[in-house]
């Protein structure tokens, strides 16, 4: 098991190098001079020149990249923000809690709603509940998050005055953004739970359990659910990873200072070190969540565990 984890983490290294290179190239191609953006429109030529030298922007592209990698590897230094002068890691860690909170809220909502709906849908296949749940799940999948966000604000903030439309300091303020963000996950979890349940319910071992004279409810809860949950757990994990990194639109609508907004703002401000560090961070977070999911997978599915040697 340990060896498996180590191998997975080692495997991350080339991926991260690739990600860094990708982002580096993209930023290199992006129009807009960071020196001009950071120092302001009125900056003198000398100041700009000095900034370029200090940040190594005057060097050839590959040199810049090599330098970045060298510093990151030898000193764990991924640079400082051009704008705030703070270490990039501090910037990201300041923004991360908001994103984490949002993602956690959203995934919890998604599981609380999606799982029972999916199970019920599967048990009562072809019922009106099933059809409605499936169609609503499809609508949830099809709803653009920015539109849903606006509708939620319109309903709960403007008309009903129940919940604040922005911020994230209070529990109430978290409700709307997490709801908007979770719509997709709810739908996916519902659909996945249902199809997984349907598949499992038809499995031979469920018939075996029934042939033992076991109660239907026990058959469903003990035998079917555990097995059906295996792919759902994976999905939840992947969704959580997605939410951690992909809440850009939600964060911008609800004014949540998370990683997504930090990234977009940094791209706009040409704060390259933050963009680079941020994307790397997101990639690491995403990969680690995936690793955790795989480990969890091993925990709930003994067949998988055997492969992680």
């Amino acid at each position: 098991m340990i060896r498996y984890i180590v191998r997975r983490i080692l495997f991350l290294i080339p991926v991260l190098a690739g990600v860094a290179f990708c982002v580096f190239t993209l930023l290199y191609l992006t129009p807009g001079d960071p020196a001009k953006m950071v120092l302001g429109e009125m900056a003198t030529e000398r100041a700009i020149q000095e900034f370029r030298e200090r940040e190594g922007l005057d060097k050839p592209f590959l040199m810049q990249f090599a330098n970045y990698v060298y510093k990151a590897v030898t000193r764990g230094d991924i640079g400082r923000s051009y704008v705030t002068k703070r270490p990039v890691m501090d910037e990201i860690l300041a923004a991360f809690p908001a994103t984490l909170k949002l993602a956690a809220f959203a995934i919890v909502i998604a599981i609380i709603i999606g799982l029972p709906c999916g199970i019920l849908s599967a048990i009562k296949q072809y019922s009106i509940f099933d059809t409605a749940a499936m169609i609503f799940a499809m609508i949830g999948l099809s709803m653009p998050v920015f539109w849903l966000g606006l509708l939620l604000i319109l309903l709960f903030s403007v008309h009903l005055r129940w919940l604040p439309p922005s911020g994230f300091d209070t529990f109430q303020a978290m409700i709307l953004p997490s709801l908007a963000l979770s719509a997709q996950s709810i739908s996916m979890i519902t659909r996945m739970t249902r199809s997984s349940m349907l598949e499992v319910i038809r499995a031979d071992y469920i018939r075996t359990a029934r042939s033992k004279g076991q109660k239907e409810s026990v058959v469903i809860w003990r035998h079917a659910l555990h097995n059906a949950l295996i792919p759902v757990v994976t999905l939840c994990g992947l969704q959580f990873g997605q939410l951690l990194s992909g809440a850009i639109l939600t964060e911008s609508i609800f004014a949540i200072p998370g990683v997504g907004r930090l990234m977009v703002d940094s791209i706009k401000a040409r704060d390259y070190p933050v963009v680079q560090g941020g994307v790397l961070f997101v990639a690491v977070a995403f990969s680690l969540v995936n690793l955790l999911v795989d480990l969890l997978y091993a925990y709930i599915d003994p067949r998988i565990k055997a492969q992680y040697k």
Binding site: D204, Y205, T208, R210, K212, G213, Q214, K215, I300, A306
Partner: protein
């Protein structure tokens, strides 16, 4: 003598959007105490449906038991409540399924799966049930230290032993084995069959063995029922049937078994295919493929007749010939 199991006029249909599948039609069977019945037929003949019908485990929808009675130990199973049925399943009638690879819950250790059965039907506590589960495993030839393993850690043959252990855990009166060896390697098949034969005797249970392998039937069965398109077409004592196959379909079956003694180039295959169960031919379902068929065969359903004492056959032509 009272039979352990008597099935009368059992009809089971699957009703789907595309039409009705007549999986079992007017099926009649009897099985005595301690007897082993071989239940033979092609895939799709309705053998498994019959077995599930006895267990009352027909998936519904789409399955519907249209008519008939299943009298087990003097009581009609079809009139039992679900709760009563649960006590019978596993406790009095146990089933072994075809594919041991999939019939065990992959996320539960095997001892727990056996213990679950024991706790459902016997008044024991958890620890006791686990101990008994270990005993059962030893009985089927699996070492006790492996009781905490998961199914995927066992080979196919061993999994089937586990399944057998589960089925016999509560000393059932009737054991239904649905092609228990089809999914196994040939070498393992013999071992598992041997084990079943031994344990069946040890536990004094009756058994229905569903198979399409006439060799296995010859090996362990006392009686044989041949099934075709949802009906039993021939039912007899094993010796009588092997000595004197009467129904044209049975004859076809026997001819299609390669005989090592004879030196022939090709097998005698029954011409044609199994009919579409949604659209069975009128009259005898076998008549389009039957060499003996006359005009009568396509007009009326053949009744079961006793061609010889204890030898029933559902063919007016061949049945009368024998008489």
């Amino acid at each position: 003598m009272n039979d352990l199991l008597e099935i009368k006029d059992l009809t089971i249909h699957y009703v789907t959007d595309g039409g009705t599948v007549r999986a079992v039609e007017n099926l009649n069977l009897r099985l005595g105490h301690g007897e082993t019945l071989g239940f033979v037929g092609e895939t799709g003949a309705g053998k498994t449906t019959t077995a599930l019908g006895i267990m009352r485990l027909i998936p519904s929808p789409p399955g519907v038991v249209k008519s008939g009675r299943i009298i087990f130990d003097g009581e009609d199973l079809l009139t039992k409540s679900e709760a009563e049925m649960r006590a019978i399943r596993g406790g009095k009638i146990a089933m072994i399924f075809q594919d041991p690879m999939t019939s065990l819950n992959p996320v539960m250790t095997v001892d727990k799966q056996i213990a679950e059965m024991i706790r459902l039907h016997r008044d024991v506590d958890k620890a006791e049930s686990l101990k008994l589960a270990g005993d059962m495993l030893e009985l089927v030839g699996i070492k006790r230290e492996r009781m905490h393993d998961y199914p995927h850690q066992f080979s196919g043959g061993m999994k089937q032993r586990v399944v057998i252990a589960i089925a016999l855990a509560c000393d059932p009166g009737l054991l239904i084995a649905d092609e228990p060896t089809t999914a196994l390697d040939v070498t393992i098949q013999a071992q598992v069959l041997e084990l079943m034969k031994k344990l069946k005797q040890q536990f004094g249970a009756s058994m229905i063995l569903i198979t399409h392998d006439l060799g296995i039937v010859a090996d362990i069965c006392d009686k044989v029922a041949i099934m075709y398109a949802g009906r039993v077409v021939e039912y007899a004592d094993k010796r009588a049937l092997y000595a004197n196959p009467t129904h044209p379909y049975t004859i076809g079956l026997f001819n299609s078994v390669p005989d090592l003694d004879e030196d022939r180039e090709s097998l005698n295959v029954i011409p044609g295919l199994m009919p579409d169960p949604m659209d069975l031919p009128a009259g005898c379902a076998f008549h389009p493929r039957c060499a003996y068929a006359t005009s009568v065969c396509s007009e009326s359903k053949p009744e079961m007749m006793e061609a010889a004492p204890g030898h029933f056959v559902a063919c007016p032509i061949r049945g009368r010939e024998r008489k």
